[in-house]
Amino acid sequence: MRLKSLQLYTDNPEEEFAVSGHRACQGCAEILALRLALKIFGKDTILCMATGCMEIISTPLPTTSWKLPWIHVAFENAASVAAGVEAGVKILMDKGKIARKDIHVVAIAGDGGTSDIGFQALSGAMERGHKFTYICVDNEAYMNTGIQRSSSTPYGAMTTTSPPGKKGIGQSTWKKNMPEIIAAHNVPYVATACPSYPFDLFAKVKKARLTQGPSYLHILSVCPTGWRIPSSEAVAYGRLAVRTGMFPLYEIEDGRWRVTYSPEPLRPVKDYLKGQGRYRHLSEESVAIIQERITSEWELLKYQCTIK
């Protein structure tokens, strides 16, 4: 098994498109995820990025960490910009103004830029069927502005705008299910991924790259700063998120659901919650509520995979 993994790793391109010199925090899983994904997307890729951590850490004028054509316009419009870029490249090729080649457009945004402010633009672009990949790098809060809640923040998590207190438990609603919402747009390829499982990530990026239409990757991006964990633990917490069922790895390909890694038996959710400062305030009762919900969501996911 180990040897097979090594083979898989060495099969993948050495070339890096997210290059060193960026200002990501230590242990940032977001830059790790993109570094790995871009290896697979390869050279003929155009990146359209939303405002957020990634944009700020990677492109302070006059420097850049992207060895690919890259554009940032605003926070809420990565999907619309990508739609425009895709249209522009297509018509220029159709008119013979640029050489015809398989250029792939990739839009990248955080969970705020995806599930909140960028939701409408994303929905529009997905519904229109533009051929591009949208990546949500989900670190479960507005980390760029100082850890405020988003609709992707999990139940019970402490953020600066969902603080626990005498009357509050922290974030009081459940994480918005973006992959399922996007799948409801009849998007041909939707998948979750986590850089703690790089080969799973590679396989999904490959599928997204080959999709003739829109594709959507929802990548859990552990944020040591916002989650209040040691920076050396980012990869481990990504694994725990998957192993506990907090962030299952699955894909929806032309409407067919498939779990790509089954962590059964699930580890107790408390193993994932306990070391994170953002969950430190949780009572045993709250942990039990989360456990119950996660277990039932996992069962539902398995059911969806069976019947679809």
């Binding site: 003929d44 700020i56 060895k67 554009i71 316009v73 605003a74 739609a83 249209a87 640029i98 519904e127």
Partner: protein
């Protein structure tokens, strides 16, 4: 012999975009802009225009997609009005800051609340400092000519800025006028294909829209400011070349009967035609009024305005927007800044007309002239700094 056709001005605007061979159109429908984007959709669907038409889900995305396609190197066009322009507002700044030569037909309309679909300049005046070059049109022929010239101005390597062609909602957009369309060959000879300096292409990766630390932001904005200021020269050059090639001559500031005028009206847009009618009628009565009309509003043609109003005793600034707590309307503030900084001794008055599609008639301007000349208006103006024509108590 040239074929002059009676065409709805909106349709004429989309034909002009077609003649300019636009390559990407990203648009969202909003009254009174709808006929422009509908006709463009028809032209694309019929194969008459080889372009990608993106039916975006909002004006915010329309302008965002335009940024993307323009950055990719495609000639890009859109159109909007009123609330749509407000929804684009954020991205208007970004399009100009990123130096993307997008052209937009802005069909001017009142802003909510109360909801009004009819014409005034509330939308464009709220967007006047977004870094876009702004042309204003008086009639349909000007709209056609301005859209063709717009691409040449915006895409000039000395400029590289987005450009807004403004036309009044309904009172211009929905009227049928005789239009002289240039031929495709003539337009091709005048307007070369878009030749961008940088594009998003994997063979030569560039980073666009990076962020600037305080050490660089000021310089970037200063460079942008100089570009829009210096674009006036290019606007003039393009208008001159257009006049030579197509026989229709335009100036960035147009004047009418200013030589002996006691009162000079300063105005933007289609209201100019009514003012000219009033001027002709006053002349018949032995009274002399003139008009200074701005075709170019951004960059602000200060020298040309000063030259036109030189020596006049009274200036009446006519505008179609409520000042919202400001001392005067925006056009008045700009004209008075220019005039008073020049040291000219002149009486200036400010009139707000035609809000939310309210009719404004030649007689209104005759009344304004008579009030100014007889000194009747000075009392009112002292109190409020501006007069709203036709407001009921």
């Amino acid at each position: 012999m040239k074929a002059i056709k009676g065409v709805e001005v909106s349709i004429a605007a989309s034909v002009a975009a077609k003649l300019a061979k636009v390559e990407v159109i990203a648009a969202y429908p909003i009254t009174p802009q709808t006929h422009i984007v509908e006709h463009l959709a028809d032209l694309v669907a019929d194969g008459e225009l080889d372009a990608v038409y993106i039916n975006v889900e909002s004006e915010h995305s329309a302008m965002s997609a335009c940024c993307g396609s323009s950055a990719a190197g495609a000639r890009t066009f859109t159109s909007t009005s009123a609330q749509g322009m407000e929804l684009m507002h954020e991205i208007l700044f970004i399009a100009s800051g990123m130096r993307l030569p997008i052209v937009m037909a802005s069909v001017n309309r009142a802003l909510s609340a109360p909801l009004s679909i009819w014409g005034d300049h509330s939308d464009v005046m709220a967007a006047r400092d977004t870094g876009w070059i702004m042309l204003f049109c008086e009639n349909g022929q000007e709209v056609v000519d301005a859209i063709i010239m717009a691409f040449k101005i915006a895409e000039d390597k000395r400029v590289f800025l987005p450009l807004m062609v403004n036309l009044d909602g309904f009172s211009l957009s929905h009227v049928i006028e005789p239009i002289d369309f240039p031929s495709q060959e003539e337009v091709d000879a005048f307007l070369p294909p878009y030749d961008p300096i940088y594009t998003l292409h994997p063979d030569k990766p560039v980073t666009m829209g990076a962020y600037a630390m305080p050490e660089l932001y000021t310089e970037a904005k200063y460079a942008q400011e100089m570009a829009i200021r210096n674009s006036k020269v290019v606007v003039k050059e393009v208008m001159e070349e257009y006049g030579k090639k197509f026989g229709r001559h335009y100036n960035i500031v147009e004047t009418y009967n200013i030589d002996k005028a006691d009162v000079i009206f300063v105005a933007l847009g289609s209201v100019g035609e009514n003012i000219k009618t009033a001027i002709d009628s006053l002349k018949d009565q032995g009274k002399e009024a003139g008009l200074v009309q701005l075709r170019l509003f951004r960059p602000f043609p200060a020298e040309e305005i000063l030259a036109a109003v030189k020596g006049v005793k009274n200036i009446a600034v006519i505008e179609r927007v409520m000042p919202a707590g400001a001392p005067n309307g925006p056009l008045f503030q700009e004209i008075s800044t220019v005039v008073h900084m020049s040291g000219a001794e002149v009486s200036m008055t400010n009139y707000i007309v035609g809000l939310g599609g309210r009719d404004v008639l030649p007689e209104d301007f005759e009344d304004i002239y008579n009030d100014i000349v007889s000194g009747k208006n000075s009392e009112l103006q002292d109190e409020k700094n501006f007069t709203v024509i036709g407001v009921r108590a």
